[in-house]
């Protein structure tokens, strides 16, 4: 009986895992409208959790107005710190630091300090200085460099974060947010995880897309948008993640829109629809609401069609 029960649970879990789909919205080029479109998806999608993985410049909360329910410190790693009273100023740490993070600071009176100082902004956390210090005067402790939150919104649960000023390790924080969103989706039996990604093709973007079910690239009909899309396409191909593309503000340059869609097709990336230029997108942002709730106009129809195509692409 016990075994049977266990098996049932396992099957149940399996089923949940199979049904749940994770969609990541990225753009390559910044400012193409990712967050506004994700906010619209929040209003359109059924049972979902939202994850803001643009931890450098998180904006989704400005529209979804989350109520924070749980708050956790994020530590991306350890950093080195010199205990001035124990330091003998032998400079071994300075000689071996590859990141130029250790210097004698100039004091307010124009004089140089007696002991060196490790600038936390440039400390990479490699601990080489800690290990070469002959008098063990350097401590190496985890540092808090951000916070992440699980929140409730009118659209369902949301996981988001705030990275500290001038902090690195955004990739680790992205991984943490996605893990939490997945747990919530599994716990609540949700159908979708909708991830708002960051611009670029580097560390946080790679952390956002690995293992996702679908990447939706939002681009714009400019030569820059086209150039950046091609680099994103190479990235998602590298990690073998199914990808579709949507041209936002397509009517700004219909020729380039067509060119982008054609080239994307050559890379195995299907068009997910076009969204027209409409000042309602900015107006909705100012009213702190999603564009599909702000207006029943044509632009909302465009975004709804893109969401339908996302569902179709997920199969």
């Amino acid at each position: 009986m016990g075994i049977r029960c266990k098996q049932d649970n396992k099957e149940k879990q399996q089923r949940k895992v199979n049904i749940m789909k994770e969609i990541v919205v990225i753009s390559g080029k910044g400012g193409t409208g990712k967050t506004s479109i994700v906010a619209a998806f929040a209003a359109l999608a059924g049972k979902k959790v939202l994850a803001d993985c643009d931890v450098d410049a998180a904006d989704l909360h400005l529209v979804l107005n989350p109520k924070i329910e749980r708050r956790e410190d994020f530590s991306g790693g350890k950093k080195a710190k010199i205990r001035e009273d124990e330091c003998i100023a032998c400079d071994r740490c300075i000689e071996e630091c590859r990141f130029d993070a250790i210097q004698y600071p100039v004091l307010g009176n124009g004089k140089t300090a007696d002991t060196p100082y490790i600038d936390p902004i440039f400390c990479e956390g490699c601990a080489v200085c800690v290990r070469v210090c002959p008098v063990e005067a350097i401590s190496f402790e985890p540092v808090v460099n951000g916070e992440w939150y699980t929140s409730s919104t009118n659209y369902g649960p949301m996981v988001h974060a705030r990275l500290g000023m001038a902090e690195g390790n955004s990739g680790k924080l992205v991984t943490q947010i996605r893990r939490e969103a997945r747990e919530i989706a599994e716990r609540d039996g949700l159908d979708y995880i909708i991830v708002d990604g960051s611009p670029g093709i580097g560390c946080p973007v790679i952390s956002s897309i690995t293992g996702a079910d679908l990447v939706l690239v939002i681009t714009e009909p400019t030569l820059s948008g086209r150039h950046d899309l091609l680099r994103v396409a190479q990235l998602t191909a590298h990690f073998r993640i199914p990808t579709i593309v949507c041209v936002n503000k397509w009517d700004l340059n219909p020729d380039i829109t067509e060119q982008i869609e054609g080239e994307a097709q050559e890379h195995g990336i299907k068009a997910a629809g076009r969204i027209r230029y409409d000042s309602a997108i900015t107006e909705a942002q100012i009213m702190k609401t999603s564009v599909v709730e702000y207006t029943g106009g044509a632009v909302s129809g465009d975004i709804t069609a893109v969401w339908q195509n996302v569902l179709y692409a997920l199969g």
């Binding site: 390559g28 080029k29 910044g30 400012g31 967050t35 931890v55 450098d56 410049a57 904006d59 400005l62 790693g77 350890k78 071996e96 590859r98 990141f99 307010g108 009176n109 124009g110 902004i121 440039f122 990479e124 956390g125 490699c126 601990a127 080489v128 290990r131 070469v132 990275l163 000023m165 001038a166 902090e167 690195g168 390790n169 955004s170 990739g171 960051s198 611009p199 670029g200 093709i201 580097g202 560390c203 946080p204 973007v205 790679i206 714009e220 400019t222 030569l223 820059s224 150039h227 950046d228 680099r231 990235l235 590298h238 340059n253 380039i256 000042s279 900015t282 942002q285 100012i286 702190k288």
Partner: protein
């Protein structure tokens, strides 16, 4: 003088301002270098259309084991804080993408069994256009080490004349690598809630780095007045406002410089530069005065 063009939010107009400033200044006979430090998605070349004269790899140092010397003691794995080395059954395994190039493994290997070899993580291209010396970097697809490529771009520049630096968006490691040694930072934003939120984050970053800065507002007549009110409250100078001119957006979409498609904007960029140099001069003077005051 090195001026970095940065922003928290992407797509606010960094590249437009960087390229148009650089070409405007070169047109006035100044020696100008333009460094595109957005190595993940560089776009300056689309507008500048430089003739590329040299192409070199951007590399990071990565350890390589000299098998004959290695005893499999495992110290390298213990001292690697980035899990880039694992020693399994006496054999050293290296994961290149995770390596930060700190040199710990090489330094602490008791057998001197490591060599450090350059590993390509991107490409640096250099060229000329419109009187501007141009350098940009391209991060290889799938690589994580944007800051290493950014450092290579900056190393390829020399210290003469004016350096305009186009930064990646955001506020974390690649941005810091790009802007950390700038003399002045221009933070570009747009007058929307997202623009304001990301400007506040960028201001926090720049203040942490203690670099003087001013703000440029692009598409200045959309959205609301909150960005201007914020700048006033925080005593931040606004040195450039570009209106939401559809002709600019169209020129941009075709990869055309604003000052070429719409020459009337040349004056706008000239004025912006004068304001930046004046403000920078004032900061230098204030610093000098502060110093003299404490000395006396």
């Amino acid at each position: 003088m090195k001026v970095a063009i940065a922003s928290g939010k992407g797509g606010t107009g960094k590249t437009t301002i960087a390229t148009n400033l650089a070409v405007t200044l070169a047109g006035k006979g100044k020696t100008v270098q333009l460094l595109d430090c957005d190595v993940e998605e560089p776009n300056c070349h689309i507008f500048l259309k430089p003739e590329i004269e040299s192409r070199i790899p951007a590399t990071v140092l990565m350890p390589e084991v000299i098998e004959e010397k290695c005893t499999g003691c495992g110290i390298c794995g213990d001292v690697c804080e980035f899990s880039a080395i694992a020693v399994v059954k006496g054999k050293v395994l290296i994961f290149p993408e995770l390596c930060h190039g700190c040199g710990a493994c090489t330094l602490f290997c008791p057998e001197d069994a490591f060599l450090e070899v350059p590993r390509e993580v991107g490409i640096i291209e250099e060229g000329k256009a419109g009187g501007v010396r141009f350098i940009h970097g391209l991060l290889n697809i799938g690589e994580l080490m944007s800051p290493a490529v950014i450092h290579s771009v900056k190393k390829a520049a020399d210290e003469t004349g004016i350096v305009i630096l186009d930064s990646p968006p955001g506020t974390s490691c690649p941005v810091i690598a790009a802007v950390k040694d700038a003399d002045y930072i221009l933070l570009v934003t747009e007058p929307t809630p997202f623009g304001l939120n990301d400007l506040e984050l960028a201001v926090g970053m720049v203040r942490t780095l203690d670099i003087p800065f001013a703000v440029a507002i692009n598409r200045s007549d959309v959205g609301n007045e909150d960005v201007k009110e914020y700048c006033k409250r925080e005593k931040i100078e606004i040195v450039l406002e570009i209106p939401n001119d559809r002709r600019i957006a169209e020129a941009y979409s075709r990869g055309e410089m604003v000052i070429h498609a719409l020459p009337e904007y040349q004056k706008t960029f000239e004025t912006c530069w004068t304001k930046i140099t004046d403000l920078h001069g004032n900061t230098l003077q204030a610093g000098q005065q502060g110093k003299t005051a404490t000395e006396s």
